[in-house]
């Protein structure tokens, strides 16, 4: 199939036989799958700060989501730092997550057309959410609703 050029060997959890040696997925030999493998690790390190930071700031400390409303977002997004943070988190989390789904789909969905359909569904959802999120993060202007915040 055109979309899945090189087939990845199915990932296996480390088994009792390979205890001490098995560490999950083997590193792909090359091509797209090696880039995908590398991307998951690089984006993982960045998300370690972006996603964990986001979750602690927005959901745990300082009242968590109980303080979040329109006014909170309006004040927060006055800063280009937070807009950039949120947009980077949106993009990296979507690609990291949907690539993770693709790996899982390769393991569990064996029938080629079903696999293609499931992957396409996630790609379309991912692209749609990327477009929606990007437009809102960069065009949001609370002054359209004076007095709201």
């Amino acid at each position: 199939m055109a979309v899945e050029a090189a087939e990845r060997p199915p990932s296996m959890p480390p088994s009792r036989r390979t205890r001490g040696h098995g560490t999950g997925r083997e590193r792909p030999a090359g091509g797209f799958e090696l880039w995908s493998w590398l991307f998951m690790r690089i984006s993982g390190v960045v998300l370690l700060f972006l996603a964990v930071g986001h979750v602690l700031i927005m959901h745990v400390f300082d009242g968590g989501v109980s303080r979040v409303n329109f006014g909170f977002v309006a004040v927060r997004w006055e800063s280009p730092v937070w807009r950039t943070w949120d947009w980077a988190l949106l993009v990296l989390a979507l690609i990291h997550g949907i690539n993770g789904l693709r790996v899982i789909v390769q393991d569990y969905v064996k029938w080629p057309s079903a696999r293609f359909a499931v992957n396409m569904l996630f790609y379309v959802i991912g692209f749609g959410l990327f477009a929606l999120g990007t437009v809102v993060v960069f065009t949001f202007d609370p002054s359209k609703w004076p007095g709201a915040s």
């Binding site: 205890r19 329109f70 006014g71 809102v136 609703w145």
Partner: protein, 133 residues
């Protein structure tokens, strides 16, 4: 055939790596499915205060806050276990200490969850039972 059955029989017993492999998948899928919904609910902010405040009111419900605690746990587990995977990937010699590193990363996760559960759980109890912790 008998060999295959034995393989299946031990697939999820034995090495701690087998459990973290499953947990990494489950938490990853949970997070991306939540993200699908979360991008949409945050995007509603572009439709003004009435719409957005109505949507985030869902997150102020105590039961949804309970799910939110699960989300925070999932993100934290996935992050810490992801670091463990990268240690094994980039320093293959470290797989000799797989068991110790698995215990250490799980311990770090559980340790971090203690104050987080207290902070978020307090809010959940206050909301659901009307307590004033």
């Amino acid at each position: 055939m008998a060999k295959r059955k034995t393989d299946l029989g031990t697939l999820y017993r034995g090495s701690p790596g087998q459990w973290s492999w499953i947990a990494h998948r489950v938490t990853g899928v949970a997070i991306i499915l939540f993200l699908f919904a979360h991008v949409v609910d945050t995007a509603v902010v572009g439709w003004g205060p009435d719409a957005y405040n109505r949507v985030v009111a869902v997150y102020h419900n105590w039961f949804v806050r309970l799910l939110e605690l699960g989300l925070v746990a999932a993100v934290l587990y996935h992050a810490i276990n992801g670091v463990k995977i990268m240690v094994f990937d980039f320093w293959p010699g470290s797989t000799r200490y797989m068991k110790q590193l698995s215990i250490a990363s799980t311990g770090l996760f559980l340790l971090a969850m203690v104050p987080i559960t207290w902070i978020m759980g307090r809010d959940i109890l206050n909301l659901s039972l009307g307590w004033n912790l």
